[in-house]
């Protein structure tokens, strides 16, 4: 891993997402169409990040982990359609269920193709998407949460010796960070974008787990960042006042730092990986 790789694999997706988002400030001015800006930005940045890693994905994919990007593309298309439907904003759980269904059907990594596994994927996506949607009050909160969680998954992937996934998650983490800053500068409607981040977070964790058969990263560590989403959402929901935003972020921080620390502590002492 060198600065050129970081600039290419992470910098370009961030530039793409930022460019689309800035463009949407002028092109998608109406409040109803505003969510399309972030949704398109995240979807296109995700595809860009993947193509930079492994080229244009084939269909059907040559490797099962490529289903991750195909799932994200499907969910991104869905997330683009929702804003065109007037009542979409009221159907948070339904949106998450549809995203969960897509994830459960399409996103099948090695050793995760049983019925129970599919059900677990569905539940995880459902909780992640609904949990993240909670954070859209205020909207920057969801981007900040996604930023932290994806950054932790990127480190876990690196610990599991899966550099492409680490770069992929790292790129999307940086995209979330960039959109968080833009959201603070110019608050916009960003409702359905949480579906993309929710599915991506669950997908990254399950993908990392599937390709780490010797468990260099403890199994539970992959699930801690996901678990932080509904737990922090519950804290956000139960608490009143301004401190609830801080409290929910503290919960996420606790879980992601815990997962990363655990993975680092149990890892065997080693020299550097392939550059």
């Amino acid at each position: 891993m060198n600065p050129t790789d970081i600039l290419k694999f992470i910098g370009i997706p961030v530039a793409v997402a930022t460019g689309i988002m800035l463009l949407s400030w002028w092109v998608l001015a109406s409040k109803r169409l505003q969510p399309l800006g972030a949704t398109i930005a995240v979807g296109v940045a995700c595809l860009t990040a993947f193509i930079l890693q492994d080229g244009v994905p084939a269909f059907p994919p040559t490797e099962k982990w490529h289903w991750l990007v195909i799932t994200i593309m499907l969910v991104s298309l869905l997330a683009c359609i929702y804003p065109l439907w007037k009542k979409w904003n009221e159907l948070i759980v339904l949106q998450a269920m549809i995203a969960g269904l897509i994830g459960a059907i399409v996103m099948q990594f090695p050793s995760q193709d049983g019925i129970i596994d599919r059900f677990v994927v569905f539940i995880l996506i459902l909780f992640a998407c609904v949990g993240l949607r909670r954070f859209t009050i205020p909207p920057w909160h969801m981007f900040l949460a996604s930023w932290m969680i994806l950054a932790s998954l990127s480190i876990l992937a690196l610990q599991a010796s899966f550099a492409k996934l680490a770069f992929f998650a790292g790129a999307m983490s940086a995209v979330a960070a960039a959109l968080c800053v833009l959201q603070l500068v110019n608050p916009r409607e960003t409702k359905s974008v949480q579906m993309i981040f929710g599915v991506f977070i669950v997908g990254c964790a399950l993908c990392g787990l599937a390709y780490d058969p010797t468990h260099h990263v403890p199994i539970l560590a992959w699930f801690l960042p996901i678990a932080s989403i509904p737990l922090s959402a519950i804290a956000y929901f139960l608490c009143k006042g301004k401190c609830r935003a801080v409290l929910s972020l503290v919960i996420i921080t606790f879980f992601v730092v815990g997962a990363v620390s655990w993975a680092i502590v149990v890892a065997p002492p080693t020299v550097e990986m392939w550059p």
Partner: protein
Amino acid sequence: MLLIKLLITPLLIGLSMLFTLQETTPVAGEAFQVDPVHSTAIFRVHHLGAGMFYGRFNDISGTITGDENPAFDISIDINSVDTNSEKLDAHLKSPDFFNAVEFPSMTFKSSATKKVGDKKYEVAGEITIHGVTKPLSVLISKTGQVTGRRGESIGFEMEFVITRSEFGMNYGVESGALSDNIKIIVALEAGRK
């Protein structure tokens, strides 16, 4: 007349037995089984454009059939990769390279063998790595053949170069961290009882 019958009958029976033995004798056509302990597969990659880095695969299996024009059916277990570094081994098994979870072995199956010199063969076949199959023609040297107390043993050695990006393994190619061309040397010892 009786004498002639007495002489011819055993002769015919003997000849028929001889032909029967020649047809069913398993010795010449029986496959040699690759001995995983005394067989070696090593690979060489150019690291950072500086040093040559070597690694090996410890588990080789397969068969070699035929004495005159041997046919090869060889399989190498990706999970047996050994670079003397646990972390490097894990990275080579990951989807960045071989994706051992989905593609646990690489194989070579020959389809045609031509003798091109003393103990040298040009073998054409198909190599499958990372789920991608490509034609491969390789020069194979016969390193020896003996019959001892362990039965009959035969040895071959081959050396060839693959372009890993053609097999969907492109990690580190563009940045020049790891060369695209990988030299592979396989030394086989196989035996039959």
